[in-house]
Symmetry: C3
Subunit: 429 residues, 3 copies
């Protein structure tokens, strides 16, 4: 196993203790362990995020070396959830799924990480679902082998920035940090996930972003100058970035830059700032962007001065009111957006719906809990439809004609079909 | 002192660090330290539970070697509470009550465990109540000396099971356990207490249950096979058991059994299971048992498959709905009930009111905060009436003719009498 | 720096680790570091309390060696707040204010204690406010040099009592203390502050209180006999004291006194007690004192027996109801009040409004967030008017004729004037 994750009782965020992109140089194929809440709390967000990391390490399909069968206590899968999870892994670029573990063990600390078999070593509900799934995956294999992802959005992660935010968290003196780097990373990734915008995860060692329509830079705190140069060049040549608060504040050794922030990006973003604080009773407001009424600003806010950037949103607050809160700036042939603050996930979903199209990314009509993921296998497009909810859902959106896999049942272009609770379907077109 | 208790700032549960039944072999008479909340939080539940443990160690009267006089900060007794507490100790089988301590001390960490005298070493309210109590206990002594308990219900405790649940608590990965073995033990014991069903506490080294109408097995997680055989035989010959979730899951070395659970009890209980989870939005429902509308299932739930058992209650839940939640099974000449889940104390009180009569145990009309406890001394029945509330209460229930102790004032059969707030009366009949 | 404070992420209470009055013998001029919440949470209470400690160490003006410029994260000053803070320091007796620090530093753990300059080393909003303030302070200097305080109320602090309460906190066994010595000290000091009653802070090594109209003794737990004798003599000769719960309970070595409590003060206070507990569902009630309806008694309550004292308030509670809760006692030519319990800050404000005049202290009409502080410089009275709120306020109270400093603009007696949000004005008269 190479890729695992910041652990909060489950696989939550970026692994903080090692730069996995550095470590991945030593292996040929990446593998990962992904564990996550289940039952009513199954969202697929950890599968999507964790899969994007595992895929990103080598930009290639990976193995799920471990994931939950019956899981630890309180994660007993509802009927259908194990199959849904497996399809979500394949849809993210996994080329295989293994369970921890075959049978529940009778001694030692992992006794309650229950396996495909319970402690009685007898086929039960979980075994039967896994067995059926195994047959289905065998039948799917010829269609899916070698499937790769072609995402047009990338999210850059940075182990150094994670360390920087751990030292200097977003809380007042004497307070315990409520959020860390991974929270802000997931804040963005999960919003993309809910909007069905698939994303790659990129290393901060990357220089060439030309294959992406948009590069997202969440809290890229510790940014070496050569990286900032690459980012700037990318925008200048027509690329789009969406950077957040705390980006480009320090160098790769966590030494804070001593000129105008964000370092080397003031022209590209069209703004600068030298003050920031913890928001309290601050909300986002906008004349042009649709936002929920209660988009509370949380955790961190910068007080921007715009040079060439345009404010899309401003703060509402007795003192800081009117200060820009979301900006865009045309730079060279590209465009750069900046989020100087964190705010509610609902607010982010609404904002990105309006903002992403300005950054070269179309946002389709499908929203979580219906999840659509795509890949290319043998020149054919493979589309996964995943229903992360306990209600059956009709898929009633534009799609090409094709056939359900593995049985080959044809489906006409745009023909509606229904997914059962926690159901999944795979289409080839 | 031999018997003390799991300490939560007061004597809460079973002592976790030693098997006291093993340790008791070294002493002739058991003694205990019992401390507990006071003022509005005085319930007598710790006195009843702690006394049952101390009595159970030798199946004989014990000494209260330490209990609170003025207590630590925040436990100042209301008028009458010290007498009520002492009577509750005697009613539980104590043959003496000693206070920690004579006078409040002027140095060191126990300075605020205040004694019978305050730091001023001068008789005060507490001294006067204790002095009057001393005179009353001297007068009671001739009637109470040698008093023994004759309970028909036993609750089995298990230090090994306590260790097992500490290793594998009822919480999800990353969560802090909200409850431990003692919580589940007290969940059952306190419900019996509120229903005025007195109970003995039994060691898991016990083999012969023939003197009991009902043996309760709360979370008997680590159960040696010879014990399970004894339990099964007891039921077969006409006994009754009430076992809970997590019973008979592992052997005495905490190795999980690798056949159908509950190990060796599947026939006796008429059921098996291989899945369990943390309940969320699950309530109990029943066509036949009276239950409060909001009997929330908490902490742990097993998904039973019944063979010969009958479901008394089922779960209400979108996915797990309809699965049996309380069962009874006729086995041999006896009967075995099973609780595969924890639920609200109010729900348990209601359930046991209906269930105990099916298990050979009559439930009378008296409910906490009026507490009735009984013993036999010199062939006469001694009944203690204890009012654990700040309101005076009329005792208006069937009782034999007799006399109040120690003054000998006669009382006719069923004649009502009144207890003052936090009052107590002792009757001989 | 000599004086700093109990740190809760900011300067909250009395420094617990050393008796600063002892340590102050080694220096000529005292200095202090004062940090505190800002933005909507700026109250000036820490500046007033911390300043009173720093002034009290030598009974002389002191230096603010460090205070916040932009502060740590979440303390960014609103416009005007830096000037207001500086004026509040001067008004408390500071003869200079220095900031931590000149520029924000680019490495190490204090990187986010932001300076007058931000990390960009370029003049920004904070620099501009500090620069203007520097010019104003230069102009004020001729008028304020050598300004001293002439407070008629003193609050005694005691490092030994602080240690005593840390060992024996006001919580039940098994609970975490919610409050410590500094909380109770601040409870009284902050109420005086809100009533605009300025106070000196006195050492418990003090013997001569003759220059004060009132000496407040908050939780003077560890009181040497020579101090208690001095307190008693002070009252006998016409002084006033206001002592609280837990006063005079132990000697200077924390050995609890073994006679009637409060030791040596029973005659002076006209009462004694030997019982105390944690209040629950207890409120204050009074026939004669104005109190808010919900003046909840909290943390600690003693059950007093009055000898010559008069009860101003009593407890409302089913059991402890009617027991005296606030008392006054005439003793010699003076008067001694006692608070045997803690209660809500709102309740204390109301109580002190009525009680202070009975103890020789007039309470004027001005209330926080408008704060008035006074000093004497070159024989002229200097009055500071400080608006600790985000709303402009008209100062419409009696005052002598004089002139605003430093510009000398005259103002007639009682002439109203307006302070902007977070504004301050200095008058000479």
């Amino acid at each position: 196993m190479l890729s695992d994750y910041e652990w909060r009782g489950y696989s939550f965020g970026l692994q903080p203790d090692v730069d996995q992109f550095d470590a991945a140089a030593a292996v040929d194929i990446t593998g990962c362990d992904i564990y996550h809440p289940s039952e009513d709390h199954l969202t697929g967000a950890e599968i999507a995020f964790g899969g994007a990391v595992a895929y990103g390490l080598k930009k290639a399909p990976y193995l799920v070396l471990e994931t939950q069968a019956q899981g630890n206590f309180g994660w007993l899968p509802y009927p259908g959830q194990l199959r849904l999870q497996a399809m979500a892994h394949l849809a993210s670029g996994a080329k295989g799924v293994e369970y921890w573990h075959w049978h529940s063990i009778h001694n030692a600390v992992e006794s309650y990480w229950k396996g495909v078999l319970s402690h009685d070593l007898t086929p039960g509900e979980t075994y039967r679902e896994v067995a059926a799934l195994g047959r289905e995956m065998a039948a799917l294999s010829p269609y899916l082998v070698g499937m790769t992802k072609r995402n047009k959005v990338a999210v850059m992660v940075s182990n150094r920035s994670q360390t920087g935010l751990a030292w200097f968290p977003t809380c007042r003196p004497g307070e315990t940090p409520e959020k860390n780097y991974s929270d802000f990373l997931r804040w963005l990734c999960d919003s993309l996930y809910r909007l069905n915008v698939e994303y790659d995860v990129l290393s901060d060692g990357e220089r060439d972003f030309s294959s992406y329509d948009l590069v997202v830079l969440p809290c890229l705190y510790a940014a070496p100058e050569y990286l900032l140069e690459a980012v700037r060049d990318y925008v200048e040549k027509g690329g789009h970035i969406l950077a957040t608060f705390r980006t480009a504040f320090a160098d790769e050794y966590l030494k804070i830059y001593h000129d105008a922030q964000p370092h080397m990006l003031t022209d590209c973003l069209g703004l600068t700032y030298d003050r920031f604080t913890k928001p309290e009773n601050v909300t986002l407001t906008s004349d042009t962007m649709p936002l929920p009424a209660d988009a509370a600003v949380t955790d961190w806010m910068e007080l921007l001065t715009l040079t060439t950037a345009k404010a899309l949103c401003t703060y509402r607050h007795p003192v800081w009111g009117g200060v820009p809160a979301v900006t865009v700036n045309d730079y060279g042939r590209g465009r750069a957006a900046y989020l100087p603050c964190c705010f509610s996930p609902e607010g982010l979903d609404k904002l990105l719906e309006g903002l992403l199209p300005q950054l070269g990314v179309a946002v389709g009509p499908v929203r979580f809990p219906l999840v659509v993921k795509r890949g290319i296998s043998a020149g054919r497009e493979i589309t996964f439809y995943l229903n992360f909810s306990g209600k059956s859902r009709t898929v009633d959106i534009p799609h090409p004609a094709g056939a359900f896999l593995p049985d080959g049942k044809p489906i006409a272009a745009d023909e509606p079909f229904t997914l059962p609770p926690w159901g999944a379907a795979v289409l080839q077109s």
